[in-house]
Subunit: 259 residues, 4 copies
């Protein structure tokens, strides 16, 4: 399937590893030039090199925390006219409701809500003017099924869900779409981290922790990062211009609700 985006440019937050990296790979394979971002210079450089080698597109590196205005400036300096933006970032650590503190909230909200919104403000006028934009956030399946241990995560991500949905209504007429992907339990470093947490909290082995993760998924397996990457690529395609304001769950069919 030709996605009709060869030659376009994408800025991808948190794309040196894991799900973000898979998104970068999927659109690069379709001929999209990418700006790779991550906190660790080595990871970012390696990702760029691998993408250039594999797909023959341009790949630029911007190292740093994607919720800061410094990094936002570096990103748009590298790519002043992005067609595609991926909002993505590490989720906060699981925390018991009773232990939530204001400083944790501030950090989570800055990274997961205020920072991403501010970057969208920056790139949106150009997308509107050029009559093409694909903004996609990697959120979490938890936004539709909150669990108190993840309050910092869904408390933040639901806010972003609402802001993006409201925004989507304003910009659809300019062929700028705004969507979310809601992953649950992909086989990435995040699930490794969650398994470590479960081992400590529940006093179980690594194998038990991983088995519990799998048991929670109706598909009977974890998701593979490339599956999310390809869903992202489809959402960014030319032919997805009529698809906006959606939050697509990639959860192995696990969500209980009808909608």
């Amino acid at each position: 399937m030709d996605l009709g985006i060869s030659g376009r440019w994408a800025i991808l937050f948190g794309s040196s590893r894991g799900l973000g990296r898979a998104c970068a790979d999927s659109v690069a394979r379709e001929g999209v030039n990418v700006v790779i971002n991550g906190r660790t210079s080595d990871d970012v450089e390696r990702a760029c090199a691998e993408i250039v080698a594999a797909h023959g597109v341009r790949a630029l590196a911007v190292v740093g925390d994607s919720s800061t205005s410094e990094v936002h400036e570096a990103l748009v300096a590298a790519c002043p006219e992005p067609d595609i933006v991926l909002l993505n970032g590490e989720g906060p650590a699981p925390t018991r409701f009773a232990d939530l503190r204001a400083d944790q909230w501030e950090r989570a909200l800055r990274q997961g809500l205020v920072g991403p919104v501010s970057f969208v403000q920056r790139v949106l006028p150009g997308m509107i003017e050029r009559r093409f934009g694909r903004i996609v956030a990697i959120s979490s399946a938890m936004v539709k099924s909150p669990n108190s241990m993840m309050s910092l995560s869904h408390g933040t991500r639901l806010g972003l869900s609402g802001v993006l949905k409201g925004l989507s209504k304003d910009v659809a007429k300019f062929n700028v779409t705004v969507n979310q992907l809601l992953p649950e339990r992909f086989d990435t470093a995040r699930q490794e981290q969650m398994a470590q947490v479960a081992m400590k909290v529940k006093g179980i082995t690594y194998e038990q922790a991983r088995a519990e993760q799998i048991a929670s998924i109706k598909a009977g397996r974890l998701g593979q990062a490339h599956e999310l990457g390809d869903a992202f690529a489809f959402m960014c395609s030319a032919q997805a211009g009529y698809l906006s304001g959606q939050s697509l769950q990639l959860d192995g069919g696990s969500y209980e609700g009808v909608f």
Copy 2:
């Protein structure tokens, strides 16, 4: 993007024209052999011929009402081991709430709910056994935003939404996914028909009726059938095995709700 389904077989209800036809085209382009169904022999034969000519796949014709067991038998006789099934059918005519009659309900429910469920019962065991299945229903955006004039439609389609969602939870572990597409206002014969209804009911011109349709869509245009076809193709892809139980709106960003 390689969808990984070349050589597979799809049975598509109501695929001689409109959205169903676009779905057939999109998967045939990816190398999928198709069984085309419709009520008019000429339309079905023409669709088959065009698909064979364009994509070089096999295309078999089954003429008749896809809600009947006779047609179900003909479909599985033509293709005993379908990998992909598209549930699709004409929606019932708009009807005022006060005018709804039991016989209209019976027809709508048979065509939109009982018939499709019975066909899924027929093909599901094979999909489970073969560890691959992609069942997609073309429903309507109205299932999430009901409007009393369309009670026969959403009253029926919501029932199907629920049955398919329940089912999806059972079969995800066999790599059988069950999803829905919720289109709103695509540029097909259906919208022509709705425009004719609006002209009579509201006493407006054709141009006004079409302008009203466009005004109701945040994207400022109607959807194009191939946009839905390609979303269908993606949902049927090998890499969409972790995507199940979803109802994806293709509505030009028009749905008001956050989820």
Copy 3:
């Protein structure tokens, strides 16, 4: 709290026992005259006698299947100008997806969708004219969390959910509200029946079946019928005229979804 409905009349489907009976009790306590319906004459007569004795309101008996037009006629003959209508009926028996048959669908849809809608068509014009109406359906929590064993139930009830939601938008301006209650696991004969089913299907004891029911509820207990009755009474109150189109879950906090 004064609900402002003393002297009004309610027609309550399936109100001789269980949740329907609790609804009748709750509004009768607030001074509402009631028409009690059920399939067994003794039950209906006993309910009427008890309600008259307890609350000093009028209580009329209409015996028969509330999905039939004969019973609809008897109900409106007994009470030509109802202010309140409760739509309620026994759910269909749990059935495996593979075993669903067309005749079961027809019965379930007639009882749970077509019959209730036809009764609403009958009483709605008077409610609109009198500028007061409270239509409430007892649905099921399952409409938001479908489970394939209950396809006949949620397949039907979701259809009704949609029809009632669409209708609610048209009639709010006449002070006619249309809402649903979505109960999960109340301590009634229905849960006894479900426990019997579970005993057979899973080969467990009665105590285990009941313990499983309780374990599925976050409140750690089953609901009490009067809790649903009082929620119904509140939805029927004069001061609930701004509350319409809602599906309120009474599920001990068990639903996973954020909305």
Copy 4:
């Protein structure tokens, strides 16, 4: 209807005027003692005096911004063992997406999310220990239908919706319920403020602005504060212990979505 809460204590944020005041009136009428909070001493004192005079319950005044820990301490000093908590606060001013600033986000999030969560953390252990708690937040219908002009509002309130939903699952077993009311267009000072904004933004008269507000509501009128107050009182009742994790819209039937 006896709500079974006479003699209990409620702490109500933002309860000197508007919707919060109506909530205080409704529960005080049911015999609940109240702690009234607001930013203006005169308003708070007047509310207390009026409530004592009307309902014969105790009413304590705590003046100040309910998102601060100083006011939290004053509230629990006044009422160390609250049975009922109302989370409520003024929404942020409408702001165009392009004009959103980090400092506005910080204020909105502190007032609408971090502050309320921190107060719940403070009072929850006692509710759990005493096996009775009713936590209700006045949110906004906009959380389910976001509009970009209100991003600060729904961006914040959706976060709180998620946190409260997650929490509700943990505490239902202790007879502590956590719910939300989602009002749309009540006849309070807030709608006056919104009308003033509309006059400026759209260059319309006050009468036009008010007519637009009414036109947006399917009930054809604004809500009355006492209607929300009584819904709050019902949610706080003894018999509402099985109702938790719900977001009940009070919107004159205006929400488009089926759920």
